[in-house]
């Protein structure tokens, strides 16, 4: 009998996970908004705008890390161009924010300031729909999704793999960055979009708006985690991991890897786009340097630090690296690259599975293979099989392979 999907999604995340999510929701949906927007500034528990927007930014980064982990950790495809999708989502939402400025810009025009300056008399066609909030919500996911789909379709169809794929994703984001740097491209050139005023008519700097954006970012992260968890524990996730480990076998048993990779790749890009859209109003600027290859590499670094192939690891990695960066740049402005650099080296050398790997090692689970992603456990209810009895034999004991002498 068929189990309803909702129930299966529920089951895919273990009980401890749901408890953690509930605690997380309580903090991000209630505690933080109250501490920021309700408590007076003098109150000892008041959370400043600085902290809220910093944490909100990190939540968005965490979503990106989860999206990256889904495609890298689970499908084995290292993208060095995820910054592009993040930025595209950001730009899509940024266009809406620019339109919301209305006539409050320095040229008091209906057009965004930079267009007035370029002597443009009307919005270019690709700005159509940017004044509608709903349309923008659609674009935020659709633009990175479509770009990723088109790129992925060609790349996966040509069976570009490994470092070749990584490098062309890097070329893609680099080319996009150069394109967006141009003033004529119509996205504000190097300055990008900034000086936002409001969303849906509400001031973007009000504590309520800030708390709302923060809570939305948290909600997106939680949704990503639940969705990600379902995906990686479903048969789809197992096919994906199988493609990572032995793609030709997957093809010979009848799955088309192109479609599987493409789906995950596009979904990952859409998640990045959504994160970008929430990121932009919280940091107040989007410009092409978000697409620089270094930014995309950094995304991979977060995932590796946290632990590739575990969703929690991606979240932890993004959090640790970014908090460390914020702290270091404040406290050791001249030396922080040393700390961050040595942190990356140390993590790779001593924590091959990232922070999560360390935690696992400390908990000393005996059976788990050291570098294996967690074995999905969806069929826990399958027949009990004694795993203790190993029948593995040393290949050396086997009789020599018999030759083809005739």
């Amino acid at each position: 009998m068929r189990t309803p999907l909702t129930l299966r999604i529920l089951h895919s995340t273990p009980r401890a996970g749901w408890i953690a999510l509930a605690v997380f929701a309580a903090i991000t949906w209630i505690a933080v908004p109250v501490a920021h927007a309700v408590l007076a500034e003098a109150h000892p528990l008041h959370l400043s705008a600085y902290s809220v927007s910093l944490l909100g930014k990190i939540l968005c980064y965490m979503v990106v890390a989860v999206a990256m982990d889904l495609i890298w950790g689970y499908a084995g495809i290292l993208s060095l161009g995820h910054g592009l999708f993040f930025a595209l989502g950001g730009y899509a939402f940024g266009m809406y924010l620019m339109r919301q400025i209305g006539r409050d810009g320095s040229y008091q025009s209906d057009l965004p300031d930079f267009m007035v300056f370029l002597d443009w008399k009307e919005l270019p066609w690709y700005w159509a729909g940017s004044d509608s909030f709903l349309g923008t919500l659609l674009l935020v996911g659709a633009v990175p999704g479509l770009v990723a789909f088109a790129f992925g379709w060609f790349a996966f169809r040509s069976r570009i793999k490994g470092v070749y794929f990584s490098i062309i994703t890097q070329a893609l984001t680099y080319a996009a960055m150069l394109l967006f740097f141009r003033n004529e491209t119509g996205f504000g050139g190097n300055n990008g979009f900034t000086d936002f005023k409001r969303i849906l008519g509400y001031s973007i700097t009000s504590p309520e708006m800030r708390a709302t954006l923060f809570a939305l970012s948290a909600a997106l992260l939680m949704a990503c985690l639940v969705l990600g968890r379902y995906l990686v524990t479903s048969r789809f996730g197992r096919v994906l991991a199988a493609i990572r480990d032995a793609e030709s076998r997957v093809m010979f048993i009848g799955y088309n890897p192109l479609h599987y990779k493409l789906f995950m790749w596009t979904l990952s890009a859409v998640l990045c786009g959504l994160a970008g859209a929430l990121y932009v109003p919280q940091v107040g600027i989007i410009n092409p340097s978000e697409m620089s290859p270094a930014n995309s590499i950094e995304i991979a670094v977060w995932v590796a630090v946290g632990g590739r192939g575990t969703l929690v690891g991606a979240v932890l990695g993004a959090g640790i690296v970014n908090l460390a960066k914020s702290w270091f740049t404040m406290s050791f402005p001249e030396y922080w690259p040393f700390f961050l650099g040595f942190l990356f080296i140390a993590v790779t050398l001593y924590l091959p599975d990232g922070v999560v790997g360390l935690w696992r090692r400390l908990r000393a689970r005996p059976a788990a293979a050291p570098d294996a992603p967690p074995v999905p456990t969806v069929h826990r209810d399958a027949r009990p099989v004694s795993a203790a009895r190993s029948s593995a034999k040393d290949p050396a004991e086997l009789p020599a392979v018999k030759g083809a002498e005739a």
Partner: protein, 536 residues
């Protein structure tokens, strides 16, 4: 070159005055009076000094260049330390140095000075000096110089110099009143390859209202033919120039990527710190330059040669340290190595920033790498780029010899193809790795040396090349040195032709798109391994 008539007359008068005067005679005060006048008369005076020639003129020009020529009480004087002498004849004057208003030497004055010096040099005994002088004068040819050209042509025996002078004279004669002179000039100018000459000729073919600028039809026809001839020459030179630019860019990309091709091929390590190895090589070059400047100032032009082993060793040492301390522990985890080398790159960049400061450091091209070969007016192949192309060939040859002819090279190739098997047949893979990494890093250091001759040397210089280097390696096919060569040259030439056509920004974007599309067609790079392989 349409000078206002009064000034033209004045200039001619000055020149004539000098021409009739005996060459060795001292200058008279009147000929220097212009120096006290307005800016333009000052320039005319300076140029006329050159035409006049003679020791005194030379002395005045020298003083001007040194910033010692000045004006006091409407009179040209030269400041010599605390004392002041008259410019015209060098006799001491009872004037305080502080009372003299020295003449500012700006670009315009420097140009006039250059013309004057060239005019002087036209009488030099040295052929090279005369040729250079003739070229300089040809660029600034004006009515006032015509007598000079004619005088020089009469005395000149060298054909090349005569050609230059004749064309220079022809440029002037193009505005002669005599149609026969103009016709001769237009024909003579057909030998030129200078776009400036083309512009002069083209002006004859214009109409002002209904009237031709050049009334004589025969002259117009000659000018038209000359323009076509010049155009052809320019087009050829430009194509050669663009090809050379592409070759040069390609050789730089190659030098930046070659080391990466080795280290990536052998160990499959994505070395994000590769750019920093370039930086190490460049800073090593900088240090060698510093040593030469301090201890061997006479041989400072050869610091580049001495820097070759230094840059190689410095980068190789850093490379070995990286390999021994970090990468060694990451074999078989190439994507993790990305993270660790990214960290290494942060550390190295910040290290350079702390040691050398965040600013770029200054590296001078040695004299023998300065300037260039002029193919045609406007198309110059700079020596530093030519040397770098040669250097790239040299490095390539060395690597090829090492890979093909030495035992180490054989080991490296074996490990590249099948590490496990190489280990089984007794290749000391760990040692080979270290050595290969040292060599790859050393080659990167040589790349840094080459870059230091054309671009920035600063802490972050490497990050500008790392993306390009990876593109080259991947486009060529991982671990394929020949592939890297083709990829680098191909990218260089494609980029340069695109840049000429679409501008630098669009060209860069198009090159990246080209790479993406190319990899679609050949997902393993230009030189993929072919054949049937056991499915892994």
């Amino acid at each position: 070159m349409r000078l206002p008539l009064p000034r033209l007359l004045c200039a001619c008068a000055l020149v004539l005055a000098f021409l009739v005067a005996p060459a060795r005679a001292a200058l008279d005060e009147a000929s220097l009076a212009g120096l006290a006048g307005d800016f333009q008369s000052r320039l005319d005076t300076i140029e006329a000094l050159g035409v006049a020639g003679g020791e005194d003129a030379r002395r005045v020009l020298d003083a001007l260049e040194a910033g010692a020529l000045g004006v006091a009480g409407g009179r040209a004087v030269i400041v010599q330390g605390e004392s002041v002498v008259a410019a015209a004849n060098g006799e001491a004057l009872a004037l305080a140095a502080s009372a003299v208003e020295t003449l500012t030497v700006n670009n315009r004055v420097r140009r006039a000075l250059g013309t004057a010096r060239a005019a002087l040099a036209l009488a030099s005994a040295d052929r090279g000096e005369r040729l250079a002088a003739a070229r300089t004068l040809a660029d600034n040819a004006g009515q006032s110089l015509l007598p000079l050209f004619e005088r020089a042509l009469a005395n000149e025996a060298d054909d090349e110099i005569r050609g230059v002078l004749a064309r220079a004279a022809a440029r002037v004669n193009l505005s002669s009143a005599d149609p026969a002179q103009r016709l001769k000039a237009a024909r003579a100018l057909g030998e030129s390859s200078d776009p400036a000459v083309k512009a002069l000729l083209a002006a004859l073919l214009e109409k002002q209202g209904d009237v031709w600028v050049e009334p004589n039809g025969e002259v117009r026809a000659a000018a038209d033919m000359a323009i076509h001839a010049i155009d052809r020459r320019i087009a050829t030179a430009e194509t050669v120039g663009t090809l050379f630019s592409g070759l040069s860019l390609g050789s730089i990309l190659l030098l930046a990527a070659l080391g990466l091709a080795i280290t990536y091929g052998v160990m499959g390590v994505i070395n994000m710190a590769h750019g920093e190895l370039l930086m190490v090589g460049a800073y090593a070059t900088f240090l060698v330059q510093g040593l030469f400047r301090s201890y061997l100032p006479a041989y400072v032009d050869w610091y580049v040669a001495a820097a070759i082993p230094a840059a190689f060793l410095a980068a190789a040492l850093v490379g070995v340290a990286m390999e021994r301390l970090v990468l060694r522990h990451l074999y078989g985890r190439p994507l993790e190595s990305l993270l660790a080398t990214w960290g290494l790159s942060l550390v190295l960049i910040q290290g350079a920033r702390v040691v050398f400061g965040p600013q770029n450091v200054e590296l001078a091209n040695p004299a023998w790498m300065s300037g260039g070969i002029e193919l045609a007016a406007g198309v110059v192949l700079p020596w530093n780029r030519i040397v770098i192309v040669g250097f790239a060939v040299f490095v390539l040859l060395l690597i090829w010899l090492m890979m093909q002819k030495t035992r180490l090279g054989m080991f490296v190739r074996a490990v590249t193809q099948n590490r496990a098997m190489a280990g089984c047949v007794g290749v000391p893979t760990a040692r080979v790795d270290t050595l290969a990494f040292a060599i790859g890093s050393g080659v990167a250091g040589l790349g840094g040396l080459a870059l230091s001759q054309i671009a920035n040397v600063g802490p972050a210089m490497g990050s500008g090349y790392i993306v390009d280097a990876f593109m080259v390696v991947v486009l060529g096919g991982v671990g394929q040195l020949a592939g890297a060569v083709w990829a680098a040259l191909g990218l260089g030439i494609v980029a340069k032709f695109l840049e000429g056509w679409a501008g630098a920004v669009i060209a860069k974007i198009l090159v990246l798109v080209f790479i993406i599309v190319f990899i679609q067609k050949r997902p393993q790079g230009i030189f993929a391994l072919k054949g049937r392989f056991a499915d892994s």
